[in-house]
Every structure is written in C-alpha cells, then in structure tokens.
C-alpha cells in the first residue's frame, strides 16, 4: 500500500469531503418524505450513532487487518459509490444546465479531471479538498439567504408516525454516513499518535452534524412536508425560488459549487480505490488508474436516468450498512477474539 502522512486537520477534512460530496443535496427529499417533521430528530439519532461508531473505530483501528478478499469487497463497494455519485452529478447536469451535451462528453470531462488529479503527486490528491473551502463558505451563505423565508413552526416534531416509514427514514438518514469506514483506513496514516477521541473527533462530528442538520432543516422549513413530496432536489428548487436583487438564478451557482465539491469527492474515492490496489511499482499503479477511469467511462452512462440512478443509490444505501459499518466491526471483533484466544491458549 502507498505510504503517506496526514495531519489531524487533513485527516478530518478529507473525511468530511468524502462523507458529504456524494449526498448532501439528494437525500433530504426522501428523508423528509418518510420521517416528515421528525426528520431532523431522526438525523440526530443517526449522528449520535455515527459518533459512537467513530469512538469505537478510534479505540480499535490498530486491530483492523483487512484480508485481500475483503479489500476487494471494499474496492467494489467504493466503485459502486463512485458510480452512483457520478451518475447523479451527470444526471443533474443534463437536467439543469447541459441538456444538449451528450452524456459521454460530460462524463469524459469529469473523468479527465479525476485522472489528471490521480496521475500527479499523492500530495496533490490529498489536498485537493482545499479548493472546496470557498465552496463550503458560498453554500453556507446561500442557506443564510433562505433564512428570512423559513417557517419555523414546521420544526415541531410529530408524535403520530408510521413505524414502517420511520424505519425507512432511519435507513435513508444513514446515507450521509457513507464513507465513515475511511476513518479506519486513513487513521493509521495520521501523524498524531495520541488518541483523537476527545476534542478533535467531537468537533468533527459536530461540524458534520450541523452541516447536514442545516441542509435538512432549511429544506423542511422552506417548503413544508406536502410540497417537498413533489420536489426531487429541494435545495436546488429552493435556490431557484429565492428572489435576489443582483441575481435571478442562484440555483445555477449553487449547483456548480456542488459539482466542484462532488468531483473532489469522486477524485478522493478513486484515489483510495487505486491506493488499496496491490501494485509494486508506479507504472502499474498508473495503468490501474487508466483502467478504473476507462471502466467508469464505460458504465456511468447506463445509470444516468432517474430510475436507474435511484436503483443504484438504494443498493449503495443497503450495502453501506453491511460493508461500511457491519463488516469493519466484524473484522475488529474477529481480530480481538483471535488475539484473546491466542493469549488464553498460550497461558
């Protein structure tokens, strides 16, 4: 595996962009539809769950050993995440800004950027997220523009709810957790040897929670439950309906900002797929880089439609529970159990 070092800040920033780039404008529609006014409470429960998982990961990351077969499972899962994210970007692009551009052209352009980033220095990929810092600021400002139009009474929780729908809401609310397994994979590369379980992890978790909570609340309070059912990308529609004196279509800027953010996430995912690929020299790694990009170019087009995209996103959502959460826990427990057994039998 490739060797590099990360600072604490780099580690958490990479994790943040991996966890946010894929879904932050897409999952609110489904969550609010199922959980209704309780959506933000459901999300808070999920956020707490993620925090506990991170605490567990921080305590046990030393114990994680990933066999070659499991490594392949992760790689295939990450490729599916990339396919679902990238096809969603291209679907939205063709819907909102580039209706006449062939899908293969849009896909190729994004993949060229990703290939160029992954062809260069490791340091360049690991710091690519810095371009998204102004984008985060811009997106937060656009949400603030919507604040005067929010109806705060829509925040009040509902006591009567459908259990099946609520269970589904919990499943949808785990979508922002996609990518949390990278904590285990990246943590050994962090220079900081002391535990990150205290303030660093807490502040990361709070940033992540507030970010997603804001996306849910802004949509829920702006549109209302019934209205949101008819709007597939509520954040973009909210931006479109804002009337600003200096600009007519804030949604276009918002979308471009989100695309930059998402491309950064795709670049990071592809980097980690290549990174965990066994390669003994640089030329092999470059060949693998080409193969992955060509593979993505070939398959993305198939998923650029509403139905197929929703289908693959649903698959990823289930897989993420199994591979992103359960599998690492099993691997850690197995290793712990094995160690204990060796200790007992030797004594």
């Amino acid at each position: 595996m490739m060797m590099f070092e990360l600072s604490k800040t780099q580690f958490f920033c990479i994790l943040f962009f991996i966890q946010t780039g894929g879904v932050f404008i897409s999952f609110q529609h489904y969550l609010i539809q199922d959980a209704k006014q309780n959506s933000w409470l459901v999300f808070l429960v999920i956020a707490l769950m993620q925090y506990l998982l991170f605490l567990l990961f921080e305590k046990t990351y030393h114990a994680l050993r990933v066999p070659t077969f499991i490594r392949w499972v992760f790689k295939i899962y990450w490729l599916l995440v990339i396919i679902s994210g990238l096809s969603f970007i291209i679907y939205l692009l063709s819907l909102w800004t580039l209706p006449d551009t062939p899908i293969i052209v849009t896909t190729a352009i994004i993949l060229i950027v990703s290939y160029y980033a992954n062809y260069g220095k490791v340091t360049a990929v690991l710091n690519i997220w810095t371009i998204a810092i102004p984008v985060v600021i811009f997106i937060v400002i656009t949400w603030l523009l919507a604040v005067p139009h929010l109806d705060w009474y829509r925040m009040a929780p509902q006591m009567d709810f459908n259990v099946v729908k609520m269970a589904r809401a919990f499943l949808v609310a785990t979508a922002p957790m996609i990518g949390l397994e990278f904590y285990l994979f990246l943590r050994p590369f962090v220079k900081e040897v002391r535990s990150l379980a205290g303030w660093p992890l807490f502040s990361y978790q709070m940033s992540w929670t507030f970010f997603y909570l804001a996306t849910i609340l802004v949509n829920q309070l702006f549109f209302g439950i019934e209205e949101i059912k008819t709007i597939p990308q509520p954040t973009l529609y909210m931006m479109k309906s804002l009337t600003l004196s200096f600009i007519e279509r804030a949604d276009l800027f918002y979308m471009i900002a989100w695309i930059i953010w998402s491309i950064v996430t795709v670049i990071l995912y592809i980097f980690f797929v290549v990174m965990t690929w066994p390669a003994d020299n640089e030329s092999k790694r470059r060949r693998q880089n080409i193969v992955i990009h060509l593979f993505l170019l070939a398959v993305i087009g198939f998923f650029v439609s509403k139905e197929r995209n929703e289908w693959i996103r649903e698959i990823v959502n289930y897989l993420h529970l199994a591979i992103g959460i359960v599998l690492p826990i099993i691997l850690i427990l197995l290793k712990k159990g094995l160690n204990k057994w060796i200790k007992d039998s030797s004594s």
Binding site: C13, V122, E248
Partner: protein
C-alpha cells in the same frame, strides 16, 4: 593540449586570442628573466596595472620572499587554460616562461550604472535602490543590508567548457540544507557553453519548465532579496544581469509587494486582498461574461438582461470571437507600447484604447459591455506586482474563455479544477509551490491574505514529508 612554458613568445600569445585588437602583450626584462605582460585593454584598469607591475618589479629586485604575492596578485605555475580564463575575465597576467610561472593581477575595470530604482518594480515608500549589471556591486548592496556572518555567498562554475559563473546566496541558519544542496547541484549541472542570462538560468533551475507559472521570483530590488533571504530562501545572481532569481517560492509570493511591508498592516492587507481579487477577475471575468451571454442568460435580473440582449443581438458573431478579438487587441497594444520609445508608448495606448475602441463599437464589431469587461480584465491583471506572473495570468484566461464557450459555468469550474490540480502539483526547488494550501496549514493561511505586523519573520516551510516518503 598544453604548451611548455619555455615555448611562449609574443606570437604564441597572439594566436591564443586570435590577434584581437584590444589585446596588449608587452615584453619585460626583469632580474629573474624575460617575461610578458598580457591583458585586454577594454577590461583592465591600465594605470593600476602599471602601478602594480612597478611595485612587483621593485620587490623582485630586492629579492623579497614571496615578492609576487600581494593583496591583488597570486603566483601560479604556468597553466595555459588558466591563463586564457583569467585574461578573458579581465585580469592581467605576468608570464615568466623560463621560471614556468604566471602572476595573476586582479586589476579589472568595472563600469556600472548608478543603482536606480527598477522601472518595473517601483514603490511609493522605502528603498529606491535597484540592482545593476555588476555582480560585485549587487553583492555589496545585499551585504550592506545584512551585516551578519552566516550570510553565505557561493559561486559555481556553470558547465565544463564554459567560463561563466553563477552565484547563490543564503542565510545558513535559516535556509533548508536540502534546498541549498538541490540548488547547488542544479547550478553545477547546467551544461551551457556561453554566458547565460537570468531567463535561461531559470529554465535550468525550475522544476517544471512547461508550466505557465513562474517557479522562481525575479526581482531587481535588493530590499526584496533581503526580505526573502530572511525567510530562508536562496537568491541566484549572475554577472552582467540586474535580475536576481529567488527560490523556493510559493504562488502567493508573486502577489506580495515591498509596499505591503512599508505601509500600515491594514493598508497592506487591503491592497494584498485587492491583488488577489484582481487575479480572480483577470482569469475569470471574460469567461464569466461569455458563459452568461452564451449559456446562462437567465441568471441576470430582467432589466439588465434586456440591455445585454439588445447589445449582443446586433453583433454578427459569437461572444468568444468578440472576446478573443478584443483580448488580442489589448495584447497588441501592450506589446507595441513596450517596444516603442517612452515618449510614443503612451500615445499608442490612447490611440488603441480610446480611438480604435470607440470606432469598433460604432462599427458594430463588438459590444460596449465587452469593452468594459476587457478593460476591467486588463486593469486587474496589471495589479499583480510580478511581471512574469502577470503574463502567465493573461495567458491562462484564454482556455477559460474556450471552456466557457463550450460548456458555460460547468466548463469554467472544470477549468478551475484543472488549474488548481496543476498548481497543487507544482514545486519550486522541490518545495511545495502552493503552500500553505499544500501541505495544508491553516495557521499560515492568514499570512497569504493578511499583512500581519512585522514582529517576527515567517520562514519558508521546510521540505514536506510527502515529497520524501511518498510518490514523487
């Protein structure tokens, strides 16, 4: 092939220098035997040479020990290669063939212009001194500002057959030893055959020559060199050139001016931010206009949109042609005003900018708005203090314009990502060029945007561990 010293005579020396008309060869008879004085009159202070030779003659007649060694002379065994190199460098040689020795006299004559302020780097407040075409005088201007013992000056011979030297300077306690070693190796490996200019030397010293971005800072200001030396950087000087190269530098160094540090922190910060804003405008504004007019008309408020539509609809061709036409026109005016003598240069600007600009709008070849866009872009690019970075920025806006024509805002964002990745991959003397964004250091990020009070120096970040351990 070396000739035996005993075979040296006037004709032999004349042949060595192809009978050049400024070559002087005088035969002298001293108590120790026959000798030859040899030098180029164009390079030597002849009065001082005559004085020194007379002094040496009297010392030899008195049979003093080490009579040939003085503060400005050295005695060497005869060596033909050394003889040629010394005479070409402006020294005087006193050759005694029978004794197989040569005495080298450093009586070069230097003529240099006064150290006036460089035209391209003027400041409002602070020093108005600039480098000249003499290495010694330039070194003096640096030394007098840095009266410290660990200011190291090293000279490297460039190439094997070449007779040109490069000098590099650093402060031993501040510079990264790895970078100093890298710089010395690069200078030694320059395979030039003739004296190089600073631009050619830059090609050898840069990490990525084909990048549009300069990776070494050019300056003609001693105060700027001193400021950079105090940040742990290395300065490269070459004889006969007033331009000094500084490395390793970061992208953001090119947006800092000595005026920032001479002004109050708030004022300095304001102008630094203005320059960074100028960078964004210079790169993005024409592309943004093209994207809006070609793809995203709907983002404009209705009243502005109507006006833009009215002006654009009358034009016979697409906005990209209009933009390229005007941008290239501005470049032509700039190039013409640079090549013309000073009294005529500004006239070209006025004729080009006002007269022709007004005429093309009246003829319906370009829109008024495009004139405004291109003018703002040009002004924005000129606020960047470094001429090299200024030129690079002017060039990279063209691919942005093309991408905006093809894909609108999406094309611009793709181009921005490509540019950003390119910058992340660049290095200057193997040090990260896009520091403090790579390696990311939030605490140093402020230094890029703010002119903080000068309570302490901020040395250049030392070699980044990724570059050593990871993939290069």
């Amino acid at each position: 092939m070396k000739n035996p010293a005993s075979m040296i005579d006037k004709y032999f020396l004349e042949d060595l220098f192809y009978g050049s008309s400024d070559l002087v060869i005088q035969e002298v008879q001293w108590t120790i035997g026959k000798g030859f004085v040899c030098y180029f009159t164009t390079l030597v202070d002849t009065v001082e040479t005559a004085k020194q030779i007379e002094l040496m003659r009297s010392r030899s007649e008195q049979a003093l020990k080490n009579w040939g060694t003085t503060a400005i002379s050295t005695v060497q065994t005869f060596n033909q290669e050394q003889l040629i190199e010394s005479i070409c460098s402006g020294m005087t040689l006193l050759i005694f063939p029978e004794m197989n020795i040569q005495i080298q006299l450093s009586t070069q004559q230097f003529t240099a212009r006064s150290p006036d302020e460089p035209i391209g780097e003027t400041t409002v407040r602070g020093s108005h001194e600039g480098f000249v075409e003499s290495l010694e005088q330039n070194l003096y201007m640096i030394r007098k500002r840095l009266a410290i013992p660990d200011l190291v000056i090293r000279t490297v011979k460039m190439g094997k057959e070449n007779n040109s030297y490069a000098t590099y300077i650093y402060i031993d306690s501040l510079a990264d030893p790895d970078v100093v070693l890298e710089a010395a190796n690069r200078l030694k490996n320059i395979p030039g055959e003739y004296a190089l200019g600073s631009g050619q030397m830059e090609d050898y010293l840069e990490d990525t020559v084909y990048s549009p971005f300069p990776q070494l800072l050019n300056t003609e200001r001693p105060d700027r060199v001193v400021e950079n030396l105090l940040e742990g950087k290395i300065a490269f000087l070459i004889d006969h050139s007033p331009t000094v190269l500084i490395g390793p530098v970061t992208f953001f160094s090119f947006f800092q001016s000595p005026d920032d540090y001479n002004a109050r922190p708030i004022v300095g910060t304001f102008y630094r931010l203005l320059r960074l804003g100028g960078l964004a405008m210079a790169v993005l504004l024409p592309a943004f206009y093209i994207a809006v007019v070609s793809y995203h008309f709907e983002i404009l408020p209705n009243d502005i949109s109507q006006k833009v539509k009215l002006t654009v609809n009358d034009l016979p061709y697409r906005p990209i042609i209009e933009a390229l036409f005007l941008e290239l026109f501005i470049e032509l005016i700039r190039e013409a005003s640079l090549r013309l003598p000073t009294p005529i240069g500004p006239t070209i600007g006025i004729v080009g900018g006002l007269v022709i600009g007004d005429a093309v709008v009246n003829a319906g070849l370009v829109s008024n708005i495009m004139i405004v866009v291109v003018a703002i872009t040009a002004i924005s690019s000129y606020v960047i203090p470094s001429p090299e970075m200024n030129m690079s920025i002017r060039i990279i806006r063209f691919p942005f314009m093309i991408m905006a024509t093809l894909f609108g805002f999406f094309g611009m964002s793709i181009m921005a990502l490509l540019l950003y990745i390119h910058l992340l991959n660049l290095s200057s003397l193997k040090q990260p060029y896009f520091s403090p964004l790579i390696p990311f250091d939030a605490s140093r990020l402020w230094v890029v945007f703010l002119r903080l009070p000068f309570f302490r120096h901020h040395p250049q970040q030392k070699t980044f561990s990724f570059f050593r351990r990871g993939r290069k």
